[in-house]
């Protein structure tokens, strides 16, 4: 299989425009004849479903939450980047493009990233017009801040809940379309399989989470916008329900999974407080703008009141190691360094790992409070401080926060071309679920940007382009059969009936397969443990062997242990209750079962990528200073894995990456 | 069936009707109190005020009709909302703590009917007393009979008797509580709010409720304390009705 990225050629700044100019279109009166299935209702899915509906397509949108407004995009705190250059500080589309490619450690596709930067400005216009209440200056114009170490102020924000506000914008657009009848919404619905017919993605198998009913929905194109797979690590900043089942099932049906090992561990999260911990909460990266990260120089000070540790006994390790960037080094660098100092036994806080080492570092605002006053700090971070206090019971105005890195985002995902279409025709993948824009590491405030760019601007064109190219597909819904019968004089009633029977057979076959899986998980021979028990175990393994730093030995051990755990899962998982009712244990079991397979692929990918890049850090490949050392000669490609039926032997396909505009260089934040 | 939305279809519309009629009723209670305060100026002044009222039948009857209308609107909208609200939660909580609800708000559905009953009693006592009791003892209270053309004495002598004072005091307290929540609620319902002045809404509600409560309580207190006494003077002017 040759991976064709379908990138347009020519000057990079003209590619998207050119591509649109030559794409196929669907005429307005024909659009309602096409059914598009959108899975996920976050920024990518919600914006995509709304816009496709607005264009006149018949859209069915699915989410597992009770309302599309709850998708986990909602949790993004910091902001959204856009190359508006409102601050006159030298920003431009090119610079955002450049920063993103560089930030991704030269493992992303230039054309995609440029398009993303280009569309960033439209996103802000769109969001403001929808009524997203971005922060403003006293003159009434939009405010910006510098974020995640960017050297320009290009981040737009809404009081530490930018994600929720942008999602509410997309959600309101979606609800408008639901009211208009173009979008049908299916909340509390899990996607348990993808239906491929004649080589094209044509439908999904759903489980109604209230009644347990299995159904199929057929359409002309399928969009997966289901977010990332960070919950493989169990403790992550993802929502409890975030899962990889739709993408993993698509992978098992033939979609390639690209760069699964690229995961981002966010440096500023609240550490776990005990073994009951169910998730980790991120504290916005913006905190590092004014907070100073340190640990005690002497391990015996670990339990001492941090306010009583004199300045000379404090190790401001980021400031010392990276004088130029200090506390604002990129996420992966900050995370890794936190891990190193804790490995060295300098960690603080109550989270203690299996080796007896404390896993936490201080994030201290005392000097910022002294310099700027409590009021300014309160204005900037008030809600974050409140959140911290609520969770830990400590007041960050008085005593330093304790933070530790946690899994936050997965850059890997289903492989897509420039049109966001996977190797399966008609299967589009958007937002965090695809692999495309962030390379090996994502910059802060870029996830919202990508989700919305994909949803509002890319999919509406590329899905249309696909439908315009294929023109007529075999009718797989009753409605489509009927329409064909009315339209086509050569299509007889008998043919139509035959087609309907065929559809039913196709549908039954898929439902039967899903049902078998459900029955299997419900009836493990020795039911002992809850699905979450396995998820937690898997998470511990992944943090240990496939987390912030990875080694050949560790990954090899993971590849022995994960299959064992998977075997134990199928043998001993306990799923009480029935299938024909709301059954949260069953929902979770099916998700965990898929994580147990995906985890193995992640480790396999991490093992094969014998270099360090971005969020993927192999201990064998580091500079003398402990920085990630890429191997461009051998690994400047996208690793896209094909499911072969045997989890032990996925097939690797390579999409070479070429850099015409940004020359790969060694990142240095010294 | 879809139809054109009217104000009274909606909960807000009904609530606004309740607020607007409440404003009329509030206006009346203020006017009523200020008229009655003349009792402190002596029997001549008080009875002269009563006589004057009879000389402006248009005003008197206009006000009575407006009040009747306001009462009907106030009560019917209250009833409809009460019914709707009671039905909005069929399964009740086993445990539920009200954090913000004050006593006045909680008892609106009680103080309302109490006020209605008191009003009927009050009308039977001082407005229709002559017709209802003639020369007989009012409410069977020994020695308390109706004096035509002397509302001053009818009032003052009534407050010398506990069976009149007790319902009156209860009625006035219910009025005060009802008004406290009602006035504040009226601002909220009619959308009169501004962060700069919002605190004044509650202040005004407290002030008006207190004023009306204390003002109305001053009469029985003054009578019972012997500050105001029945008059021996005789007056002659046509009856009110």
């Amino acid at each position: 299989m040759e991976l064709k990225s379908h990138e347009p050629s020519g000057p990079i700044e003209e590619r998207w425009t050119e591509h649109k100019a030559h794409g196929k279109l669907v005429a307005p009166h024909n659009r309602r004849k096409y059914t598009i299935l959108v899975v996920g209702s976050g920024l990518a899915g919600g914006a995509g479903a709304a816009t496709l509906g607005e264009l006149g397509y018949h859209v069915k949108c699915f989410c597992f939450q009770d309302s599309p407004r709850r998708a986990h995009s909602i949790a993004a705190q910091g902001g959204i980047n856009a190359a508006k250059n409102y601050q006159n500080d030298g920003d431009s589309v090119y610079r955002l493009f450049y920063d993103t490619v560089k930030g991704g450690d030269f493992r992303s596709r230039e054309s995609n990233v440029y398009r993303l930067a280009e569309l960033s400005v439209n996103i802000i216009d769109q969001a403001v017009a929808q009524g997203v209440p971005f922060a403003r200056e006293y003159g009434g114009l939009l405010a910006n801040r510098s974020f995640g170490g960017a050297q320009v102020s290009r981040t737009f924000y809404a009081r530490g809940q930018t994600g929720q506000q942008l999602l509410l914008g997309a959600y309101s657009a979606l609800e408008r379309q639901i009211d208009a009848g173009t979008v049908e919404m299916f909340p509390r619905t899990d996607i348990l399989d993808l239906i491929i017919h004649d080589g094209r993605a044509r439908g999904v198998v759903t489980r109604n989470l209230i009644t347990g009913a299995l159904e199929t929905h057929m359409g002309d194109a399928v969009v997966l916008a289901t977010g990332g797979y960070g919950n493989v690590f169990y403790l992550s900043t993802n929502a409890k329900g975030s899962n990889a089942t739709a993408t993993w099932r698509a992978h098992r049906r033939g979609a390639l999974f690209a760069n699964p090992c690229y995961t981002q561990i966010h440096p500023t999260c609240i550490p776990a407080s005990g073994d009951y911990q169910s998730k980790l909460t991120l504290m916005s990266e913006s905190l590092r703008n004014d907070g100073r990260v340190w640990v005690p120089r002497n391990p015996e000070d670990a339990t001492k009141d941090p306010r009583k540790i004199p300045e000379k006994d404090r190790y401001y390790y980021l400031e010392e190691r990276y004088p130029a960037f200090g506390n604002l080094v990129p996420r992966d660098v900050a995370s890794r360094n936190a891990m190193y100092v804790c490995d060295d036994g300098l960690g603080v806080g109550n989270a203690i790992d299996d080796d007896g080492k404390r896993r936490g570092v201080y994030l201290d605002f005392s000097s910022a409070i002294k310099r700027l006053g409590r009021k300014t700090i309160e204005e900037r971070y008030g809600n974050l401080f409140e959140m911290y206090e609520r969770i830990t019971g400590d007041d960050p105005y008085e005593t330093p926060m304790i933070i530790y890195p946690a899994t936050h985002y997965t850059m890997g995902g289903l492989w897509v071309d420039y049109n966001l279409m996977s190797n399966i025709e008609g299967l589009f993948v958007a937002g965090e679920a695809n692999f495309s824009d962030h390379g090996a590491n994502r910059l802060g405030a870029s996830a919202l940007m990508q989700g919305l760019a994909d949803g509002y601007f890319v999919l509406p064109f590329t899905v249309g382009n696909y439908l315009g190219t294929v023109r007529e597909l075999e009718p797989l819904t009753e409605k489509a059969v009927k329409a064909k019968l009315e339209r086509d004089p050569n299509y007889s009633k008998a043919q139509a009936d035959e087609q309907l029977a065929r559809i039913e057979k196709l549908s039954d076959k898929h439902i039967r397969e899903v049902n078998e899986r459900i029955e299997k998980v419900m009836n493990a021979p020795e039911p002992t443990h809850a699905p979450a028990w396995f998820a937690r175990k898997l998470g511990t393994m992944m943090y240990k062997w496939c987390g912030m730093s990875r080694s050949k030995e560790g990954l090899e051990q993971a590849l022995v242990e994960i299959p064992k755990l998977r075997e134990e899962f199928w043998r001993t998982v306990s799923v009480p209750g029935d299938t024909d009712e709301m059954n949260p244990t069953l929902e979770n079991a099916l998700r965990v079962a898929d994580f147990l397979e995906l985890a193995e692929l992640m480790c396999r990918d991490a093992l094969h990528r014998d270099e360090s890049c971005g969020g993927h850090f192999r201990v064998e490949h580091q500079t003398e200073d402990g920085e990630a050392k890429r191997d461009d000669e051998h690994f400047s490609y996208v690793a896209a894995w094909e499911y072969t039926g045997d989890l032990k032997a996925p097939k690797l396909h390579k999409e070479p990456l070429t850099f015409e505009y940004v020359q790969p260089s060694m990142r240095s934040y010294k | 069936m879809q139809k054109t939305l009217t104000l009274y279809d909606t909960t807000i519309g009904k609530k606004a009707a309740m607020a607007a009629s409440g404003v009329i009723l509030l206006g009346f209670t203020i006017g009523h109190l200020s008229g009655n305060l003349k009792v402190f100026s002596g029997p001549e002044a008080y009875n002269e005020y009563a006589r004057w009222l009879r000389t402006v039948p248009a005003l008197l009857w206009g006000a009575r009709l407006a009040l009747l209308f306001a009462f009907l609107v106030h009560i019917s909208s209250a009833f409809q909302l009460w019914k709707r609200n009671a039905e909005a939660r069929k399964t009740r909580y086993t445990k539920k703590v009200d954090i913000a609800t004050d006593y006045a708000a909680k008892t609106m559905y009680w103080t309302g009917p109490i006020l209605l009953f008191y009003l009927l009693f009050h009308l039977a006592h001082l407005t229709f007393g002559g017709q209802l009791f003639g020369d007989a003892a009012i409410f069977g209270i020994e020695g308390y009979t109706w004096e035509p053309s002397n509302p001053y004495n009818n009032l003052v002598r009534g407050f010398q008797h506990w069976p009149i004072v007790v319902p009156y005091v209860l009625g006035v307290l219910a009025l005060g509580t009802h008004l406290f929540h009602g006035i504040y609620s009226m601002f909220q319902t009619l959308g009169v709010n501004h962060p700069k002045y919002n605190h004044l809404r509650r202040d005004l509600a407290i002030a008006l409720a207190a004023l009306l409560t204390l003002g109305n309580l001053s009469f029985p207190i003054a009578v019972l304390a012997g500050y105001i006494e029945p008059t021996a003077l005789r007056f002659n002017f046509p009856e009110l009705l």
Binding site: Y276 | N85, G191
Partner: protein, 259 residues
């Protein structure tokens, strides 16, 4: 050392909307740093190991922003701590209050019908938004973002309203099961901004009509909603909705239909 206690939980269990429903009692080992939902997790883990159906409760982000969690804890929507969702309620708060026995109930309102155990159907809130909780702007047709300045205080107030997470605690806490605060917050968010002016008078009428059609009670200005709201949204927005609504009903030249 973290403080631990054994708590007695009386949890509402109801198989589905047709089932009668009852409290079932569980003992749970509580740690002061646990969130309330993590306490339920531990109960569930035990139930599952014993082969009994787990307690169904809505939850997702567990960081107080998705609005999914929805528990009435000892009579308080989202529990006793102000401005805190159930997922962010940590047990040290419960310990402080000295509660040893806790009743856990779902949101109760006819307009939010029972699904199972502690899970209710909040789609009525979505339908209120569908009725008009948006600014009709076609993707791609937006003007340059900085073309229209929005005074900072207006933007801030719109943001105050927009912080609503749609959890429904206002409905749960209201003595009348009214959705006024939710609806008012949505109306105020869009109605305050210059972008939202074009549809302001239509929006308020349609959304109020939908709110009523869903079977929520009316507002009696008790203020329970404001206290229960995990985002502390002010009932001033309800007054604003009322004003806008009365104005719209009086002045608008066109009619809107009942849903």
């Amino acid at each position: 050392m973290a403080e631990t206690q054994t708590l007695t939980l009386h949890v509402w269990r109801q198989k589905n909307a047709n089932d009668a429903g009852r409290f079932e009692t569980y003992k749970a080992e509580a740690n002061e740093h646990m969130s309330f939902l993590e306490l339920l997790d531990t109960v569930n883990a035990k139930l599952i190991e014993e082969g009994k159906p787990a307690i169904a409760f809505d939850h997702d982000c567990r960081e107080g922003i998705c609005g999914m969690c929805s528990l009435v804890i000892n009579g308080y929507a989202h529990g006793p701590r102000e401005r805190t969702t159930a997922c962010q309620l940590h047990l040290r708060e419960i310990f402080k209050l000295g509660w040893k026995e806790i009743w856990v109930e779902p949101w109760r309102a006819n307009a939010l019908p029972m699904v199972r155990d502690l899970v209710v159907d909040r789609s009525a809130l979505d339908r209120i938004v569908q009725a008009g909780g948006y600014i009709s702007i076609r993707t791609g047709s937006a003007p340059e973002a900085n073309q229209m300045p929005v005074p900072k205080d207006v933007a801030d107030r719109a943001m105050d309203a927009a912080t609503c997470i749609g959890c429904g605690a206002c409905v749960a806490a209201c003595p009348n099961a009214s959705a006024s605060l939710f609806t008012a917050a949505k109306i105020a968010h869009l109605g305050l901004l210059p972008q939202g002016q074009a549809e302001r008078m239509t929006r308020v009428r349609k959304m109020v009509a939908q709110m009523d059609a869903e079977g929520f009670g009316g507002c009696t200005n008790h203020g329970e909603c404001e206290k229960a709201c995990p985002k502390g949204i002010s009932i001033d927005f309800i007054a604003r909705m009322n004003r806008d609504f009365l104005k719209a009903m009086a002045a608008a030249r066109d009619d809107v239909k009942t849903p």
